[in-house]
Every structure is written in structure tokens, then in C-alpha cells.
Symmetry: D4
Subunit: 205 residues, 8 copies
């Protein structure tokens, strides 16, 4: 278990049987397992075989965590979301980072159209060691946070929104155009990838 | 002359001769004329026939203004740009609004990656009667300003930038996704359209 | 309550429980509330707790309106739609403007392919103080109306149509190309944003 | 020579020598030749060998016409353009139709943002046997004309414009969405194709 | 009833009740009615009120035809489809043309990958007065037929296919690039528009 | 030298000096060298150091061939182009295949809009061991040839054309949709890749 | 039966009845039949009439194989997939190749992010006579395998993935950019086309 | 000077005079300055006023570095490029990181189509503290390196290439799809942003 890294299963596109079989096998030898994009049905199947598995409905994650990794509480990852509907992806990032041995704080629903709510979080933003910014309709948030934080920002565009957001493309492009501010971008809706990258960075000494 | 509206000529795609002929004809009966996307060469030709024509290099505008329209100084239009390279489009909007009889104030180079510079302009933003926000790499600016201002915001994406800005598409999509904040969007690089729409709104009583 | 502006809830991506909780809280202290993109199921839940809530099926809006805002009947907003199937988005704009304290008139089903029906509405178009043009397959309508009206036009592309409309992209691009005519564009299907921007402009003095 | 159809050469992507050789060969046996997308340099080369060749600067066409085809003056093709900068493509269509034995009338610069200028041409529009509508920034024109005319309309999007016209894409999509009104669309900037299709239709009995 | 043109209703995006009401009203005064994109449910409702209405399942059309229009059997429209799955759109075009008073012949399932089957239809292709070519995965068919026929070809891209056809975009672009061969293109899946344009052309004298 | 494969240099994006240095080094130990996308200026520099280097203007290739590879004349590769302007890319493929030890035949300018010229080449098409089809405005050609040939077809879209060809995208999509006919596609304008893949296949025993 | 080629039916977009009728007719005279994109329901219908038909659930194929074609076991086709969810498309390719008379080996789940698992298959990659590489999220795999193998590689992008894979577009573009390495690309999700092209190449002598 | 961070000027879209004025002003009070996207002409102007300014031709950077920042040689940033033509962007990243106080190593021209050259660098890849991967035609490289390295990878797509790379879009999408492997992506051609983000991460303790 390197730096609190769990074994990871990507459930989308797999059958319940496939997920069950993989989890079963992993559960024999691993202290921590993470299964992403898991349905509740998959979880029900897994739980009967791996009783200590837990389900995180919103984040669509199954976790098995048999021994808490040592966590450095001084260095926390701050996960932020612009809208309420971006929270599932934000939670995927947050829980991923937690199971990989990080202290995580959350600040949700701080869109830039209400800049004062965001500024109200300035202290947390400045204290965070790594930041994850999740947004679908307000890719702008990554630029603003990137400008406020001196630490690395991982931006996650989401497919949430309608019309000219084109499945997350608008947020993606918006975030890429703010890279000068210390921002790196991951795939649309890829909360897991963001959480993992944030964790890698947060473990650097 | 309705509400200070000038006659307008769109020079792009016209020959120097065509521009000259049109300007010449308009100059006979109009108190104010505006020619957009004009080259210096076009201006040189026009000036020989219409000596009171003026050229605005940065904004690529030729103007003829024989009688200043009455201007209500209480109600000003605020034209903002995110970057230095967005200024030509911003100037196109500003001068368009001025020749149509508006008081215009300018705040340039206030990108969201440096949010404090923007917040430093809060008072102007709150006092403005109409706002024009011009940005190529930071479409985000429209959302933030839209959230700060209670008055209408006209957003102008520009084609300035590189890479994933895709000729202004990134800024355009970013601005469209912030419409909830009282923002209306015009075509990429369309400073003229923004200035004119701002002027129409600024003349409402 | 500034200028008849209601509190606004965006229901899409929220659970019935979340919507109920927010509406409940808002209903304690607000004279007018607007919930957009609300399903009938959400409304049923809200009504049991907030009995004076109303549902606008077509527009997918829940409204609470305890005290009619003062309305200036002289200055009306004209909401126009090109096709019958654009009416839901048009209604979202119209009712949003009404609850924000505006007189609203509606002219639906006036596509440009039958230009004479549109010309038959010339008088209304010229009298309106602000215009909202909603169209999915005939983005052209915004250009034509923009040319007929001296007042600001808010154009709303809709995702209605098929084939090469590409989810509203065709209407969006078409509308953006007509910005010279005093037209500002909002996001695809964003009736709410259009209604709100129209209201802001209509309250200008 | 079927129905006044000329031999046609597509010059773009050919060298001056290649164009000269082809024109020379064709000039031996043909009464009428049309070369599209020809530069003046190509014309100069051709003229030395084929002295009766003519150059149409705006339309970038070289024509050789040794015997006027019989033309039915009762049935004319109406070529319309929305903007001044669309005229080159419109001329390509018009001259193509003329050399193929058609009476052609032209109505240029009748954009929909000034609907009254367009309506002033109603009689011509109703009398025309086939219509060609050329537009870059106002694809809308095809819809409006399609609605006014009972005869077939050939729509030609042009790449003229800027910003969100995306090289003619906006006009193309806009025109495709108006097909119900008796409109068929050809490739962006394809004046030749439109002129030829109009000619084929105009010769139908 | 001009040239056998029926009244036309576009059902998509309308409720069963709306369709019923419109059809009922039209049925009082019209000899022929066409309703496109109609579901069977809509038809059941209409039939109870308009007993002579007929349903064309594949083409999703409701027709009322009280008096056969005079048809010129010498001049037929040839409707061709590349694949079996393009037939619904082809039928929409064919039946539209029939109710508008045209003789229609059909040649389906003649893709270009089996060029000999297509060449086997050469005689019909040369005899047809107008041709409609419908294809989703083989936009190529329009080019080939355009080259074989001296008469106008209306090309209809369909959204049928998968992968890189991108909802009909591949077929659309492919067809637009063949415009030199006397081809005009209508919107993706717009069988109705193609049938109507073909009918207009077929009635020319 | 495996199967006549030459060392390959990609010159685009390299300076004249870089190309010279690489060619010089390769020329010491290799019997055959191929440099693609080379300008004449690069060739002039190379020739002074490597006197037996040759330049193929149209194909933009520099070749050094010190010992003709053994060629099986029974199995030839047929390189076809739809238009005259596609010939440079076709030549890149043809010469690449030749220097890699293949017999190559060429059939150029056989677009599908003139299907009979193409059918006139039926015998060659049936005899070829591998086929390369190069087309910009008539991606359709790949489908038709794919249907006529029983052997593998390598399709090369080119960026030649205008309007809705979108830099080769139209041809690319068109070719991808014909894969059932035994067609594999390479990148837009990648004559080299096509020639090399054709050579690999042609050497199979 | 040329080189083990089966008759092929494309079931998508056909009704169960149509599939049944076609299969019934083909089953009378053919030794081997392949039906692609078939649902289980289609298979149930076919089996009652053609009892020796078999269903391949994952690959969505119905096969009838009455006489095994002679297979050259020395020359095998290697079908590789990057992810587990790409296996259905990979199986479509593999079974297509088998029924066309080829020895097929499979290596699944060898993404490039775990390059060592891929390198572990080096021997198979070097021994294969033709390779099929199937990938949705890791189009990169085609480049890497193309670099390792001296034999032709057929790349199949899949629509599997999320976010910025845009329905397979990302994998498609990625694969096209690796064509220099001896790679030809087929349509997104077109396992059948890849299997057939691989078979054609594998039968070359 | 925080962590060796220099003042940064973005020269693109600025005039020589503007760049000179800014540099002059910054040179008074700063120990290190970085100007990106600078032309040689800009440098010549700057040098006359700021004699210790240096120009990095390939990277298009002007640097002023008056006091070397303390550098931790144990923790180096590894900058990798897939192709020779990607080197300018790679150098922009490398020099940016150096002036911000980092030890930088370079490994250029290690595309995945020659996987063994890449594997030959395995030790450096495993020792690096942060990695920057720059690629235009082989976005694949980011996935492979991401899989080999346990440390954070910053991926920079470049606009280098042709055809279906679509100005860097292909590389961008390819890189985004590999985010699971600990990869964050910056804008196309944004070497500066990558170098800066890498530096921020490399300074974490
Ligand atoms: N239909 C809509 N489209 C876009 N924005 C909306 C819409 N409805 C409400 N909003 C915005 O969303 C905000 C409320 O979001 P929330 O807090 O998630 O309910 C409001 O202040 C509005 O600015
Ligand atoms: N401007 C044009 N756009 C599209 N196709 C054209 C154009 N001009 C000529 N063509 C077509 O190109 C063919 C001649 O091509 P070529 O043999 O290369 O000169 C003619 O038969 C026309 O069908
Ligand atoms: N025109 C071309 N298009 C794509 N790839 C090419 C081309 N020419 C050469 N290549 C590839 O580029 C490699 C050489 O690249 P370089 O080392 O940069 O010269 C060769 O091995 C070929 O695989
Ligand atoms: N090559 C670049 N790409 C993107 N952003 C840059 C680049 N170079 C500098 N910047 C950013 O642009 C800001 C300076 O912009 P300006 O004030 O216009 O010179 C710097 O603080 C950087 O964050
Ligand atoms: Mg920062
Ligand atoms: Mg606001
Ligand atoms: Mg107006
Ligand atoms: Mg009409
Ligand atoms: Mg033809
Ligand atoms: Mg074949
Ligand atoms: Mg290879
Ligand atoms: Mg890694």
C-alpha cells in the first residue's frame, strides 16, 4: 500500500457479476479497495460477499477500508463545487482522496456569480495544500480559485448543465484557458482522477 | 438622428473605393457616421473627401461627428476588458457607445485570475447603468461581473487567445453559461454590436 | 424585494426532498419565490407545505406570489416564439418576467417562413419596451425582429428541432450573427435568464 | 451542348500551366467554356492562347462564349445576396446561370435585419422561376425568401463574416433548418453549384 | 389547393390534443391534409374525429386525401434510398410528393458499395424528372446519382448509422461536397422537405 | 533493410539545418532514405551533401535509393485519386510504396460524379493487390472502390476542397462510414502512412 | 464462398420480422451466415426457423456455420482490447474473422497506462499476422502496438468511455494520428468491419 | 519572490512598445522576469533598455535573472517531448520551471510508436519528482508515462501535426482520457502554464 493508495475498480460497463468477482478477489489480499461508478445493485451484490464494504450513494463509490491510513491533518485537500448538482462528482473526488490517506475539507455551492460567498472562504482556500474545483455551468470558478490560491488546483469540468454547456465541453474549455493560474484539468466528470492526482500531490514532501 | 444613433458602415469585405463612395454619400446628409472594421488605408481615402473624419486605430473605426449628441452623464456605460489584447474590441464598443450619445467609462485588464484588482472596481461596477464585458481567455469575467452588478451586462467574447480557446468559442460558451446573472451575449469580436445594444438600453427611460 | 425580483431556485439536478426543504425555508420570509425546471412531483411535495404555491405545467415553474408587485402597464415586455414547440421556453421567460413585476404580452407561432403573420404583429413589436424572441428551428426570427424593433431584443435559442439544429446550436449561431440589430443572446433553452434580463432592462428609468 | 451547358473547369488547386493546357484543349471544340475559381494570373495566360476568353474579376470566372444560347426571357432566375460581401459568390452563381442559357436578375444587399427593403422586392420574388439566395451572416434570408416564393429556392451559405459564423457553418445550419419552405442548400461558397442547379431547374418544361 | 399542395401539420413537440384540434379544424375546409412525425396514438385520436384520415406507420404520416389531384404520369419523381433503415425517411418524402400530386417511383437499398445494383437502375435514373436520394451511412450515393442524372437531385442525409456518422453529420457533409453535380441538400431526416421541394420542381412547366 | 523499408524522416517542423544533419547521418549507413514534407530549399541543402538524393516536387519527398529493392511485378498497388488537386497526396503514397519495394500503378482524376470513367478502370481495380484511394471532395470514392475490389483498400482523406469539407473532415467521415467494404482509413493528407501500410500488406505471403 | 466469406446481415434498424425473413432466405443456399448487431429477441425468432443458428451475446452476433472453412493456423489474427468494456466490439471483430476462416487469438484488457502488461504480450504481438486493436478511452494503444508490430494493425475506436471521449471521437482522432506506424482505422464501434478487413489481409498470399 | 516565482509578461497581442514599457518598469524592482511568446524584435527592443535580458529563440522567451534562486537538485522536473517539433513548447515549460527555481532534465523525441526508446528512459521517469509531457501527434505519450510514473504528470497538448489533429484537439482529448493515471492537462501549447504548475508542485514539502 503505497502512500495510502487503494486498489481501484472502474465499474461502468461491467456487469454486476464481473464487479462481484473482481471485488471478491481483491478483498482477499487488500486493506483498502475503491470501486467507482458503482450502482446500488452492484453494492448489494458485493456486500453479501464482502460485508465490510460501504456504499456512498451520491458519489457512486463502493469502499472497503480495513485499516485507516495515517493521515497528515496539517495538509488538507480542499474540494470545492460551484453548484449543488456538481456535488456527486465532488464527492467522488473527496472520498477518493480520503481513502488514499488525505485529510479533506469541502466547500460546496460557491459559484462565481455570487463572488462574496466565495471570498468568504478565502482563508480555507489559502490554507489548503491542494485544491480540487468541480464545476459544470461555471468553469469560471477554476480561474478565480487559481488566482486566489498559491497551491496547485485540479479542475474537474462536469457534464451538469444544459444548452450550450454541450455535455461539459464549455466548462472544460473554460478551465483549460485558465491554466496560467496554476491549474491542471482532468476529464469531464472524472472526480476519481482528480482525487487521485490531488492525493499524489498532497503526499509530496 | 434617433437617440444619438449614427449611420453605420461595415467595411470588412468592401474595397477602399466602395467605402469611400458610401462615406461620401452619407457625409452629405448625416451629422454622425460610424465605419467599423476600417483599415488605415480606407481612412486615408475617406479623409481626402470627408476632412472631418477621424480614425481610431486600435478600434479600427472611422467616425464623423458634427454635433455632439446630448449626453446624460449620470447614466454611464462601463466597458471592461479582461486582458490587454482584448482592448481593441473593448474600444470598438466604447467608441460606438460614445458616438451614439452615451457617457462611457473604461476599466481594462481586470481578469478574474487576479480577483482583487476586479473587486477594487466594485464601486464603478455598482454605479454603472449598463456594463459591457470583453474577454477572450477569461470568459469567466462575465459571470463574476454579472453577479456583482444589478444592471444589464453585455458580454463580448473575443477571438484573442490560443489553443483551446478555438477562435473565441471557449469564451462564448463560458459567457452563455452565465446568463442567469443578467448577462446577454453578442457575437465573438462584435464590439460594435455590444456598444449599440448598450446604448439602446442606456437610453431607456 | 428589489424591483420585484423574486428568490429563485434551480430545481434540475436536485432531489424532491432538497427542493421541498429549500422552498419551505424561503417561504417563511419571502413575498415571492420562483422555482425553475420543476417537475410536477416536486410541486406536489412543495404544495403540501406551501399551500399558496402554484404550478405552471408548460413552463415547469413553481411560483409563490403573496403580494403582486406594482407593474407599469405602459412598458410591456413582448415574448415571441417562432414555433408551437418553443412555447414552453417562451412561457418560462414570460412568467419569470411577470413574477418580477412586468406587464408581459405574448405572440406565439410567428415563424419567418410566413413573414406576413409576423408583419401583422408590427404594431406590438414597435410598442414593446423589451422583446424576447424564442426559436429553435428559426433562429432567423431574432434578426427580423431585431430589425423591426428599436428596443432591446433578448434572443433565446431552443433545443427544439431535429437534424442539423444540433441541440440548439444552429439557432444559437444564427442569433449571434444578428447581434448588430440590437440583439443579445442567452443560453439555449434559458427562458428564465431571458425573462430576468428583460425584467432588469424593463425596470430601467 | 445540352440546354446551354458549358464545359466547366475547376481552377483551384491547379497550376497556371494546367489551366492553360485544359482551356486550350477545350477551346478547340466547344462553343462555351466556364472556368471557376480562376485567378487573374490564370486569365492572363489563357487570354494569350484563347483571345475571346473573358474575365469576371469579382466572380473569379473565366468564360468563353462563342454563340449565345437561346434564352427564355419569361423565366428568369433571381439571384439575391444578403450583404455586399456576399456579392462575389452571388456573381459566380449568376454568371454560371447566364452562360448556361438563362435570363438572370440580381437583387443584392437585402438582409433580413432591414425587412422592408426585402419586402420592397416582393414582386420580383414572386415572378422569379427559380431563386438563388446567397448569405454569410444572415442565413435567415433563405427562410424568409423561401416563405415568400412558391418556386424553388437554392440557398448558398458563404464563409463571409466573423466570430460565430465559423467559416460559413452558422449560415449553412441556419439554411438547412428552413428546408420546409422549399429550399435546397449547396456547399458553402459554391456559387457555381447553385447557378448550375438553378439552370437545370429553370430549363424544366 | 395550389398545384396539389396540401395543408401541412408538424406533429413533433405537440400534444395529442393539439394535433387533434388542428386536424379537426383543417378537416372542415381542406381537400387534402398532411401531418408529419405523427405517432400512432395521435392517429387514433384523429381518426375518431376525421374518419377518412389514414396512417402511414413507417413514414409516420397522417394523410387526408378527399380528391385525388390530377397527376402527370409522364413526369415522375424517383425516390432512392441507400439502406433499408433509410426507408422511413424515404417514404416520408415519397408520400409527401404523392399527396402533392406527383407520380412517384421508389428504388430502395441501392448503396454505392454495391455499385452494380445501382447501375442496374440506370434507366429509371435517366428517365426521372426529379430525384430524391436518401442516405445515412452512404452520403456518397448523392454524388454518384448526381453524376448519372441530368435532372435535379434532392439529397436527404439521415441520422441512421453509428459511430462517426455523428447523427447524420457525415452524410450531410458528404452530400454538400457533391453539389457540383446538380444536387441540393435538405436537413437531416427531412423527408417532408425533400418531397415538397421535389414536388415544386416537378410541377414546373 | 526489412522488406525494402527505407529510413524515414518527417521534415515538417524541422529547420533546414536539422534536416540536413539527419540526412547526412542516415546517408552514411543506409541504402534507401525517404524524407517527407520536404521543401525544395531543404532538398537543395541535402543535395550538396548527399549528391544522389532526388526531389519529387509534387509529393514533397526527398529520396535516396542506392540499390533498387527486388520488386514482385505480379502484385501491384493501385493508387487512385478523385481529383486533380488530390494528386500530391496520391504521389506521396505512390513514391513511398515504390521506395519500399512495390510495383505501383496510378489512376488519377476518377471522381464518382463521373462514374463511367471509374468503371472504365474496373479491370485494374480487380487486378490490384492493394488499393490506395485518395480524395478530398469525394470521400465517396472509397466506398465505391471498396465495393468493387476484393482486396484491401487504404483510404486517404485530403484537406483539398472548400466550404463544408472542413479541412478534410467531410472526406474523413465519409470514408469511415464505408468501412464494411474492406476499407481502412489513415489521417487526412497522410499519403506516407497510406503508402507504407499498403507496402506492408503487399509484402504479405 | 470466397475465402471463407460469409453472407452478412446488418440487423440494426431492421424489425425482427425483416431479420427473420432475410435469414430464412439466406439459410437455404449458404453454408455460413453472419448477422451483426442482432438482439436476443431477433435470435429467438431466427432459431425457430434456422435451428443451427447460434447467438453470441456479448458480440451481438448470430452465426450459422455449416461447414468449417479451412483455416491456416500458422497465420493468426491477434485481437486486442484496451479495456474490459471494449470487449463486445473486440468480440464482434474476433468472431467475424473466425467465421471468415481465420485463426484468432485474443489479448484483452492491456491498456497503455499499465505498459508492462502490454509488453508481457510482446511475443504474441510479433508473431501475429494481422492485429486488431480495440479501444475507447485509450486510443493510444494503437500507436504503441503499431510501433511494436511489423504487420498491419487495424484500429477500432469504441464509443465506450465518458466525458471528453465524445462518443468515440477522442479515440478515433488519437488512432488517426498514429497512422505512420502501419495502422489503418475503421469506424467507431465497427468491430465487424475490422474483422473483415483483417480477414481479407490475412488471406493474402 | 515567492518560491522563485518570477514576474510574468504575456507578449502575444502586445506591441513592441507595450512590451518594452512593461519590461522596463518591471526591471527596476524585480530580480527575475519572464516574458512569454516574445518575438526576436521585442527582445531587441528590450535588450537596449535592460541589457541583462536574455532571449531563448526556440521557446520564444525573454528572461531576466539577476540572482539564481536556490535550487533543490534532488527533486528534478522531467520535461519530455514526443516529437522534434514539440520541442519549442517543451522548452517554454523547461525554462519557465528553471527560472522559477527548479532543477530540470529533458528527454525529447520519445514517441510511443517506438516504445523501446521510451522504456530506455524508465529510470529518469521513476526518479523525477514531477513530469511534464509535451505532444501534438502522440497524445498517447501522456497515458504511457502516467502509467510508468508514481509522481504527478502535467500533460501539454501541442498544435503541431496535421490533418485530424485539428489544431491540438486530438492530443488534448487523448490526454484528458488518461487522467486516471495521475495526469493533469493544461491548454494546447501552454508550455508556460505547465512549467509553472510543475514548479508549484515541485516546491511542495
Ligand atoms: N432555469 C435556469 N437556468 C439558469 N439559471 C437558473 C435557472 N433557474 C434559476 N437559475 C439560477 O440559479 C440560481 C439558484 O440556483 P440554486 O441555488 O442551485 O437553486 C438562481 O439565483 C438563478 O440565478
Ligand atoms: N466552383 C466549383 N465548385 C465545385 N465544383 C466545381 C466548381 N467549378 C467546377 N466544378 C466541378 O468540377 C468539374 C471539373 O473539375 P476538373 O476536371 O478538376 O476541372 C466540373 O465538371 C464541375 O462539376
Ligand atoms: N508524412 C508523414 N506523416 C506522418 N508521419 C510521418 C510522415 N513522415 C514520416 N513520418 C513518421 O515520422 C517518423 C520520423 O519522424 P522524425 O524522427 O521526427 O523524422 C518516421 O519513422 C515515420 O514513422
Ligand atoms: N504563455 C502564456 N500562456 C498563458 N498565460 C500566460 C502566458 N504567459 C503569461 N501568462 C499569464 O499572463 C499573465 C500576464 O499577462 P499580461 O498582464 O497580459 O502580461 C501572467 O501573470 C501569467 O499568468
Ligand atoms: Mg494560483
Ligand atoms: Mg447581475
Ligand atoms: Mg433593432
Ligand atoms: Mg417557398
Ligand atoms: Mg447531375
Ligand atoms: Mg471490398
Ligand atoms: Mg508497425
Ligand atoms: Mg501515474
Amino acid at each position: 500500500l503505497r502512500q495510502g493508495f487503494a486498489e481501484v475498480v472502474f465499474c461502468q460497463g461491467k456487469t454486476v457479476e464481473q464487479v462481484l468477482a473482481i471485488m471478491n478477489r481483491l478483498a482477499e489480499y487488500n486493506r483498502s479497495i475503491l470501486a467507482t461508478r458503482a450502482t446500488r445493485e452492484m453494492y448489494e451484490a458485493v456486500r453479501s460477499a464482502v460485508p465490510d464494504a460501504q456504499y456512498h450513494e451520491l458519489a457512486r463509490l463502493i469502499t472497503v477500508e480495513r485499516q485507516k491510513p495515517a493521515v497528515d491533518n496539517e495538509r488538507f485537500i480542499l474540494v470545492m463545487s460551484a453548484g449543488t448538482s456538481d456535488i456527486p462528482v465532488a464527492e467522488e473526488a473527496a472520498i477518493t482522496a480520503e481513502i488514499m490517506g488525505n485529510e479533506v475539507k469541502r466547500v460546496y455551492d460557491v459559484g462565481v456569480a455570487g463572488i462574496h460567498r466565495l471570498l468568504g472562504q478565502r482563508q480555507l482556500i489559502e490554507q489548503a495544500n491542494v485544491l480540487v474545483v468541480v464545476a459544470g455551468m461555471e468553469g469560471a470558478l477554476a480561474s478565480v480559485v487559481g488566482g486566489m490560491a498559491a497551491k496547485p488546483v485540479i479542475a474537474v469540468p462536469t457534464s451538469i448543465g444544459y444548452g450550450a454547456n454541450f455535455g461539459g465541453l464549455a466548462a472544460l474549455l473554460s478551465m483549460l484557458n485558465s491554466c496560467a493560474a496554476g491549474v491542471g484539468v482532468v476529464n469531464i466528470d472524472n472526480g476519481f482522477g482528480a482525487g487521485r492526482l490531488a492525493s499524489i500531490i498532497n503526499h509530496m514532501r
